[in-house]
């Protein structure tokens, strides 16, 4: 399972970076989204994949024996998803406004301040 996820993460990173290198700002935002998905999935996978072992201490015991599913990476991913949701929403509003003000969606046209 980890191998499959590793390929998925690699694919997401590759696709995200490819999209970000395109000239259209819409594709830039899609690339950013893919990149944050890749980071979230990496966080999730790196925490270790354990199936059907919830982190609950059994009735007749004081401690829990590994392996068990670590809840911390999931909490981290949840936080990161919320943040990337907010950021993506802002980025969409930004490119919408940019497109209206500048009149193009081509990154190569956005050089007016670089002289």
């Amino acid at each position: 399972m980890i191998v499959v996820l590793a390929f998925v993460i690699g694919g997401l990173y590759a696709a995200g970076l490819y999209m970000m290198l395109r000239r259209s700002i819409t594709k830039l935002i899609i690339g950013l989204g893919l990149l944050s998905h890749a980071a979230n999935l990496l966080l999730f996978t790196a925490g270790g994949l354990v199936r059907a072992r919830p982190p609950l201490i059994p009735d007749n015991s004081e401690t829990i024996q590994p392996p068990f599913a670590d809840p911390v990476p999931q909490a981290l991913v949840l936080t990161a998803i919320v943040i990337s949701f907010g950021v993506t929403a802002f980025a969409l509003a930004l490119i919408h406004r940019a497109n209206r003000v500048i009149g193009t969606d081509d990154m190569d046209q956005m050089k007016a301040t670089d002289v």
Partner: protein, 515 residues
């Protein structure tokens, strides 16, 4: 007071929340903003004094003992950074009362400023690596909106670049945190300082360390990663540029220093040459970029980069004295660069433009403003008796002691570039007569092209103009004070550097007896 280390986070949060409730009342928002900035300043002074007296302050949030809960840690380094962040914030808030336009105020300028300050203070004070990520995001999110607020064309262009590159670095940061957690099973920085030394295989630690280096390198604007900064910092109103220039890149350097002295201190073997190379190239690239700029704010943006390189040099030399020099340099930089941006705003008011080919005559009309410019300008170039000289002196001494002659030579040469850039501003904006019109026909099409990009200059009364001088004068006075009190400041920096050089102190303070 037990919650003292969290106060610099709570006060901006409260200010922003109250300002949100007063969304329709601009005057109330202004008053709240000033009150919040003063309260933050008082809290920062208090925190600094308590850290002075009683050593490292730790708050375990929710009563969860470290390493299980999120710790907030205020040592001398972080309390110094918070203190100077709060000071510049207060000056910037007062300046913005006269300079920011009503529309931006109505759309939550003050609120966003305090949210950003909350992120900055949180990043300085947190003792948890994932929490650091969250504070970074908070700070970035507020800075995105501040940068784009107003929706002018140039702002949109700057904001797209700034947002994109910062989100990429955030994604790298997040990936690094995930891998670090996978390798160590903890997120508490003090706990990481112990556990990261036993990461197996060691190559994994190198990968994680370099991911952190790139992520923070982007935020700090180090050599090959700085291009977003001069492409965006000159686009918003100058007061927003000023607070960005003072604080945001410094948070990157602070995080670099924290992470590489605490968690990856055993990786100094390869990090040190890497940091020194990057620092030297950052200084050179920033310095060379600065001397060719026509736009005053773009010149200052390149100077930010150049001086981040000097601070990174202090980290790269990796001795206690070099850390002290770096800390002194960082706080000096916060004050001076914020001040220079505010002065650039003054130049715009007096000459109507930021373009150095069209400015002039300020000294003849307003000699006192000229002197106010000279203080931060000379301090930035490292001329005694201002603070920049002593900070640089400490760094250079530390570099020579450690035998790092090449990078010290580079930093000295780059000081000359800074001096040249500042002298150019002095000659073109202050000393000479203002040119009557656009100099040549060649520039005319350029000027018409740029015309829709520039906003009309806000006209302000002499009384308000004098009010705008208060924060500039205060920051200039602070520069002089830091220079005259250099011994005191350097002693504080040495105490702060002691914790960086001896991570045991930090770890013991956070984890308590259990080790």
């Amino acid at each position: 007071m037990k919650l003292l280390p969290v106060l610099p986070v709570l006060i901006p949060l409260l200010t922003a929340a109250l300002a949100l409730l007063q969304w329709r009342h601009r005057v109330a928002q202004r008053r709240l903003s000033v009150a919040g900035a003063i309260a933050l300043f008082v809290a920062a002074v208090w925190l600094f004094a308590v850290v002075q007296r009683e050593g490292v302050q730790v708050v375990q949030s929710g009563g969860w003992q470290a390493p299980f809960g999120i710790s907030f840690v205020a040592d001398t380094f972080s309390s110094l950074m918070v203190l100077f962040a709060a000071t510049t914030n207060l000056c910037v808030v007062i300046y913005s009362l006269t300079s920011i336009d009503a529309r931006r105020e109505a759309f939550g300028y003050h609120l966003l400023l305090h949210v950003m300050l909350m992120g900055v203070c949180g990043a300085f004070l947190t003792g948890d690596i994932f929490n650091l990520y969250v504070w970074f995001e908070l700070m970035l999110m507020a800075s995105f909106v501040l940068l784009a607020l107003g929706g002018e064309r140039r702002q949109m262009e700057g904001a797209i670049k700034y947002v994109t590159i910062n989100l990429v670095s955030s994604a790298l940061f997040l990936a690094a945190v995930g891998l670090l957690y996978a390798a160590t099973g903890t997120l508490n920085m003090a706990d990481l300082a112990l556990k990261a030394q036993h990461v197996n295989p060691a190559g994994m630690r190198t990968v994680i360390a370099l991911l952190f280096f790139v992520a923070f390198g982007v935020k700090a604007a180090l050599f090959p990663l700085y291009f977003w900064l001069p492409a965006s910092y000159h686009t918003p109103p100058v007061v927003i540029s000023a607070i960005f220039a003072g604080l945001l890149t410094k948070v990157g350097v602070y995080s670099l220093a924290r992470v590489f002295t605490l968690i990856f201190r055993n990786d100094a073997g390869y990090m040190q040459p890497l940091l020194l190379w990057v620092a030297a190239l950052t200084m050179i690239a920033g310095g060379l970029g600065a001397i060719v700029q026509r736009d005053l704010r773009r010149m200052l943006s390149f100077l930010i980069i150049s001086h981040i390189g000097v601070a990174a040099m202090g980290l790269g030399i990796f001795t206690e004295r070099a850390f002290a020099g770096m800390i002194f340099y960082l706080i000096e930089d916060i004050v001076v660069l914020t001040n220079l941006f505010l002065i650039a705003g003054g130049v715009r008011l007096l000459c109507g433009t930021y373009d150095l080919t069209q400015t002039g005559g300020i000294y003849r009309r307003h000699p006192s403003f000229g002197f106010l410019f000279l203080i931060p300008a000379l301090s930035l170039s490292g001329i005694p008796p201002f603070s920049g000289f002593f900070a640089k002196l400490a760094l250079i001494q530390a570099g020579l002691e450690a035998g790092r002659y090449a990078v010290v030579g580079v930093s000295l040469a780059v000081s000359l570039l800074t001096l040249y850039a500042m002298a150019r501003v002095w000659m073109l904006a202050f000393w000479r007569e203002q040119p009557a019109t656009t100099p040549t026909n060649l520039a005319a099409p350029l000027a018409t092209l740029a015309a829709p990009l520039t906003t009309p200059i806000p006209t302000i009364s002499p009384r308000r103009a004098r009010r705008a001088l208060i924060p500039i004068a205060a920051l200039s006075a602070l520069t002089i004070a830091l220079g005259l009190g250099a011994e005191f400041v350097f002693r504080q920096s040495l105490i702060a550097a002691g914790v960086l050089a001896e991570p045991r102190l930090y770890v013991e303070a956070v984890l308590g007896g259990e080790r």
